[in-house]
Every structure is written in C-alpha cells, then in structure tokens.
C-alpha cells in the first residue's frame, strides 16, 4: 500500500508573539503568546490546565468559563493577550490541595448534578463567581435558572443542577 506523504507542518508557529504576564491560580506566569491564541487554549495548551473545557468556541455553551479578575467570563471569547495583567482562576483552584471539595463541588456531588461532567467546570466557576459577589442572590427557580442560563448541559436536564446551586447556597450560608 502506498503511504501518504507526510504533511508539511512547521515545527513552530510563525505567528507574531507578544509577552504577557498574568496570575493564574495564584501563580505569576510570563509567556510569549501568539496574538490570536484564545485564553482557553492558553490555559489548556500552554499551562496544561485542562479542567477548563472547550465546547463551542463561540460563547454559547459556557464550558470554558473562568474567573477573570474575580468575574466569570468566557475564556474562548477572550484572547490571551487581552488577559495581560489580569488575575485568572480556573477550576483547578477550587478544591483544596488535599482534595477536599469546595462546597459548590460537594453540592454538585450530593445532588448528582452531573453525568458526563463536561459542562461542570464552567458551571462551578460561574456559580462560584456569583456566590462571591456582594449582591443578593435570587434563589427562586427562575432566579437560579437565570444564573445558569449561560451554561448548557446536554445530560442532566438541569433539575439536579438547580438543586445543587440551592444546596451550595445552604452550605455557604448564602440566602
């Protein structure tokens, strides 16, 4: 059988690079990044933080949600160069170093709020940001659905996720 010719792929991208410095999960990072590298790819490919998932790459599914300066944002709709000087937190920072789950993660576990788990990091980061904000939370059905409206789950049907958000609020003393 005739073998396919090896495709000609350069060793290294010839994209122009820009130096960025940012804090990721408490650690200061300096890197030269391609200007078109998305923050989601920077976290996953450059830093190996693969807990940030990439679902749609156009801001719809919410899987790639991380905290940018304390606020939930889409890492697929943020360029790594835009994150220069910011403080990023990803799902890897949420549980304690010894593996003890954060109350939000504990609530998701208790309420069986995940099946495949692909969307879960984005959900947890989104809810974490809302719980850390100083504003009152609307924990009614409609209010929790509104909080989750930017995160798609294709397995569970949301009922258990809504229960988990309320359980997390209980565990964290948020009303």
């Amino acid at each position: 059988m005739k073998r396919m010719a090896k495709p000609s792929i350069p060793e290294r991208s010839s994209d122009p690079r820009i130096d960025v410095s940012l804090t990721v999960n408490g650690e200061t990072i300096h890197r030269a990044v391609s200007v078109r590298m998305l923050l989601s790819d920077f976290l996953r490919h450059e830093l190996g933080l693969t807990g940030t998932h990439v679902g749609c790459e156009h801001g719809v599914c919410g899987c790639c949600t991380v905290l940018i300066d304390g606020k939930a944002g889409r890492s697929c709709l943020t360029l790594a160069v835009q994150a220069n000087g910011t403080e990023i937190r990803t799902i890897e920072s949420v549980a304690e170093a010894d593996g003890t789950l954060h109350p939000i993660q504990q609530a998701f576990k208790e309420c069986h709020a995940l099946q495949c788990g692909y969307c879960t990091p984005g959900m947890v980061m989104n809810i974490l940001a809302r719980f850390e904000e100083p504003y009152p939370l609307d924990l009614s059905d409609a209010g929790v659905r509104d909080m989750l409206s930017g995160n798609l789950c294709r397995c569970t049907g949301y009922i258990n996720i809504i229960a988990a958000v309320r359980r997390a609020a209980e565990l964290l003393g948020r009303t």
Partner: protein, 292 residues
C-alpha cells in the same frame, strides 16, 4: 473555530488608538470582544489589526448627569446594570439589561461595543433609539455627536467612520412620573430577541398618553421607532381598541423576512402581543404629576 491571523496593538491614549485605527482600513476596535471574537472564531470577521482599547485612559465609567447617563466606551454591561445611581434614576436600563445575553457575557461585553456591533435584534441599540440618545464618535478630525436614529444604518452597520472610535453613549433620563417598560420574545432566555419592544410615556390629568415612544428590535435591519403606532396612541387613554389600532399600524414595520428562527408572520404576531403588554405595563408605571 480559531481566528485567522491579525496584528494586535494595545495603546494607552485615545490619540494613539485613533492614529493606529486610521493607519489600517481593515483594523477593528476591540473592547469586550463578546461579539467580535465569536465572529472572528467563525472567521466571519477577519480584521487585519485589532486595536484593543481596554488600556486607553479615560474610557471607563458611568456618569449620571442631570438629564442623561453617560457611558464610556469600556464600560461593561454589568457595570451599568449594577450601578446604584442608574438603578435609581433609570430602571428601564436595568430592565432591558437583564435580557442582554448572560451574566458571564455581560461581565466582559461593553455597552458601547454592543451599540457599534449594531445587531438588529440587540437590546441596547433599541434602548438608545427609544430614549433618543446619542453617541460621541472621536476621529482624527475631532469629535462629533450622532443621534441614535442616524447611527444605526442597517444590519451590523453604523455611520461610524472606519477611523472613528465611539468613546461614549448618552442615554437621556426619563421625565419625572414617566412610565417605561421593555420585554422581548425569545426562543431561550438570553438569546437575541426575535422581537423586542420598549415603551416610554407620560399621562396627563385625564389619563391620556403623551410623549409616548415605542421602539422595536428584531423586526428590521436596525432598531426602529414605531412612529405610526406612537401617533395613534398619543392622546388616547390606551384602551384595547387603541392598542389594536396601534398594532395593526405596526405590521408594516416588520421588514425582516422569514428566516431559520422565525417567520415574518410570527414576528408580526409577537410584535402585536408585545405592544399590548408593554404599553399597558408602561402606563401602569406612570405617576401623576403633583398638583401645582
């Protein structure tokens, strides 16, 4: 689903930003990136150069003035939504803002960026048109103020020149006692509106509507005032017959043709339902002026 290659500059002064923007006809202004970056990820937009204005001095913040709210270019949706003075003086903005995508998008996306993107289904362009607001465009030749109805030209197109940066949007406050309402019909919460409608009005001592304004999104290639309906409703006591007549006069304003999300006839029916609902809601929120 990755953007094609582009140049990137992050100036710190407005003069530099305008100079860089003017140097390349295919350059684009990057603010929050919540509309531009998805378009670039799809390669529907392929600017050669991005001018990131997030570090430019003087482009942040919200100022509540006597007659208007001034929103600088880098103000994120959520900053405006949660601004205590805005909530107190202009509840219509908070009501509409709750429909702009989702909180994580509103955390990053900017109000002025949404205006410049000019999606005909978007909420904030409608609000600017409804209130008769303006934007300030700053270019190499100086600044000019553009009225909302002159700014939105067609689908994703404004009268901003390629070398101009919209540095501020101005949302007029409502007169004391005025009523207001906004709502929209969507497939899912947080989606772009299939049809959105906003209303502001006052009532006189006899309960007759005056200064009534209606604006809709999702029905044409830009946000539009429903002037025929405004004329019919002004001076009436907003009975259901008046609302029926206003809705009938508005069907011609639906010029969006059938497309994947909704047919034109569905949009006409949604608009009719919204006219009934929103005008009544706005009227119920009016407060009679104190007797002099």
């Amino acid at each position: 689903m990755k953007p094609s290659l582009f140049g990137y500059r992050a100036p710190t002064t407005l003069d530099d930003a305008i100079k860089i923007l003017a140097s390349d006809a295919d350059a684009a202004v990057l603010a929050g990136g919540q509309s531009l970056l998805p378009a670039m990820n799809f390669r529907a937009a392929n600017p050669t150069l991005l001018v990131d204005i997030q570090h430019v001095d003087g482009l942040r913040g919200v100022t509540v003035e006597d007659h208007r709210i001034a929103v600088r270019a880098m103000t994120r949706h959520r900053e405006l939504e949660l601004h205590p003075e805005v909530q107190r003086t202009h509840p219509l903005i908070a009501e509409a803002m709750a429909h702009v995508a989702h909180v994580p998008i509103r955390n990053r996306g900017t109000v002025v960026g949404s205006l410049c993107h000019a999606d005909p289904s978007a909420e904030m362009p409608l609000i600017l048109v409804l209130l008769g607001g303006t934007v300030i465009a700053q270019g190499p030749l100086g600044a000019r103020e553009i009225a909302a109805e002159d700014f939105f030209q067609s689908f994703l197109t404004t009268t901003r020149r390629p070398d101009e940066i919209i540095v501020e949007a101005r949302f007029p406050l409502l007169p004391p006692g005025a009523g207001w309402a906004f709502d929209e019909v969507t497939r899912r919460h947080g989606d772009y509106a299939l049809v959105g409608l906003g209303c502001t009005l006052s009532v006189d001592g006899q309960g007759r509507a005056k200064n009534l304004r209606l604006a809709a999104c999702g029905i044409a290639d830009r946000p539009v005032r429903l002037k025929a309906a405004e004329a019919i409703l002004t001076g009436t006591t907003l009975q259901s017959g008046d609302l029926n007549a206003a809705a009938a006069a508005s069907t011609a304003a639906v010029t969006q043709s059938d497309e994947a999300n909704a047919s034109a006839s569905y949009r006409r029916r949604a608009l009719t339902a919204l006219i009934h609902r929103i005008v009544a809601k706005a009227a119920a929120r009016t407060r009679p002026r104190m007797v002099q």
